[in-house]
């Protein structure tokens, strides 16, 4: 009978009208500024550089300016310049650090390829999305100081992921020390056999010149 479909349609809109007053499934608007959005843990926006401690961010940057992320970044929006000198990193081994590390957030599309290819877990994805700048060129180009955020912040936004990364880094550090100690012990053993007349007294963790800790094999993909 002509009109049956029309009445059915009216019934559906009526059901939704009534439903919107009592059934939360039929009233889905979240009024953004008042109601903050609940972001899933995996949410990612622009990257940030991880520094071990909050008080000295530039000193404890994990990044060693290996420029893998600069090469792999699809839109080429990362710009790194190596430092001339070296500074000891978390494990005490002198590493190069980035003198200039700039990400042009006007070009970056937050695809997290840089996080994926970084062998040192030095760059992670942030969750802060309300970013505004007044100037298109300088304003959106975040330099090293603006990008660095402490590991504690990383734990705050990506708890499970941060925990895994820290566990792995701790394990590597332990392995590195274990190897360093073994190397030191192996070097110290022949001297013990020879008369102990050597002047040099083994320092606590002398930099092992010979068995340099092989740079950790780049783990292909960390979640």
């Amino acid at each position: 009978m002509l009109g049956k479909g029309l009445l059915q349609g009216l019934a559906v809109t009526a059901k939704n009208l009534v439903g919107s007053y009592h059934d939360p499934a039929r009233y889905v608007t979240q009024e953004y500024p008042e109601v903050p959005p609940k972001l899933p843990e995996a949410y990612r926006n622009f990257p940030f550089l991880v520094s071990e401690t909050a008080d000295d961010p530039m000193g404890t940057l994990r990044c060693v300016a290996c420029q893998i992320c600069e090469k792999e970044c699809p839109p080429q929006c990362i710009y790194i310049e190596k430092s001339k000198d070296k500074k000891p990193d978390a494990t005490g081994k002198p590493q190069i650090y980035p003198a200039v590390f700039a990400i042009d957030t006007a070009v970056c599309m937050s695809c997290q390829i840089c996080v994926e290819v970084c062998p040192f877990d030095a760059i992670k994805m942030d969750q802060e999305f309300a970013i505004a700048a007044t100037d298109r060129f300088g304003g959106l180009l975040l330099n090293r100081e603006q990008l660095a955020k402490p590991n504690a912040y990383y734990h705050q936004i990506h708890p499970t992921e941060a925990a895994e990364v820290d566990a792995r880094l701790a394990a590597e550090r332990r392995a590195a020390e274990e190897k360093a100690r073994l190397a030191a012990a192996a070097k110290a053993a022949p001297k013990a056999a020879a008369p102990a007349s050597a002047a040099m007294s083994p320092t606590r963790t002398a930099p092992a010149p010979t068995a340099a800790v092989p740079p950790p094999a780049p783990p292909p993909s960390s979640p």
Binding site: Y79, E81, V100, R136, G138
Partner: protein
């Protein structure tokens, strides 16, 4: 579906005059293709579409390829007469030869009726400058209409017999074919000067303001 070799022999038997050859494919996908001389391209295509056993009624994909001129370094063995009565002296000389490039169009054909494919056809143009016409397959499969226009627009292959050969993605007044390997981007092309690397250098030339104090100065 019959093996590529059997199909090539059938085609050669069917079209004695045409030049039909198999092009091997190094990747594990082993999708072998047939390079067909432009002269017989449309007849072969019609045959492939109407043949009962093949029934390739869908041309799924038309792709343009640009193979630029290549410097080929060859070692040429020359034999000069050696000392009298002695063996000739063989000298090897490296000689660079310029292999002329060409434009190529690849057709991926499938059969919807018999659920088989792909059979891949390739056609080469004479060279990359003046002899760039190929017969259009739009009269055989209408799916080639837009895709051939795109190959014309981005590569510059002129399809003879196409009902409406115009640029499809670029605006009509656009000069040049962007997908060619030797395409040079116009310098003053309006773009977003990101202040680093060569882009910064280009920015300095065109947008002095971009090098304003605010932008990061690469350290000396």
């Amino acid at each position: 579906m019959e093996t590529p070799e059997a199909l090539r022999d059938r085609l050669l038997a069917r079209f004695p005059g045409a030049s039909i050859e198999l092009v091997p494919n190094g990747s594990p996908s082993a999708q072998v293709s047939f390079r067909i001389g432009p002269a017989a391209l449309r007849e072969v295509a019609c045959f492939l579409r109407d043949d009962a056993e093949l029934a390739l009624d869908q041309c799924s994909n038309v792709t343009g390829l640009d193979v630029p001129d290549r410097e080929v370094v060859e070692t040429v063995k020359e034999s000069q007469p050696g000392a009298p009565g002695g063996p000739p002296v063989v000298t090897e000389r490296k000689q660079t030869r310029l292999q002329p490039g060409h434009l190529e169009v690849v057709y991926h054909l499938y059969s919807v009726a018999r659920r088989q494919g792909p059979v891949i056809l390739r056609a080469r143009t004479g060279n990359r400058t003046d002899a760039v016409t190929l017969p259009s397959l739009t009269p055989v499969w209408r799916s080639c209409e837009f895709q051939e226009r795109e190959v014309f627009d981005l590569f510059g292959v002129v399809f003879e017999g196409h009902p409406d050969l115009r640029r499809i993605l670029m605006w009509d007044a656009f000069v040049g074919h962007p997908m060619r390997k030797d395409y040079v981007e116009p310098d003053d092309y309006e773009w977003e000067p990101t202040p680093h690397g060569d882009v910064l250098a280009k920015a300095r030339r065109h947008y002095p303001s971009a090098a304003a104090p605010g932008a990061v100065q690469p350290s000396p």
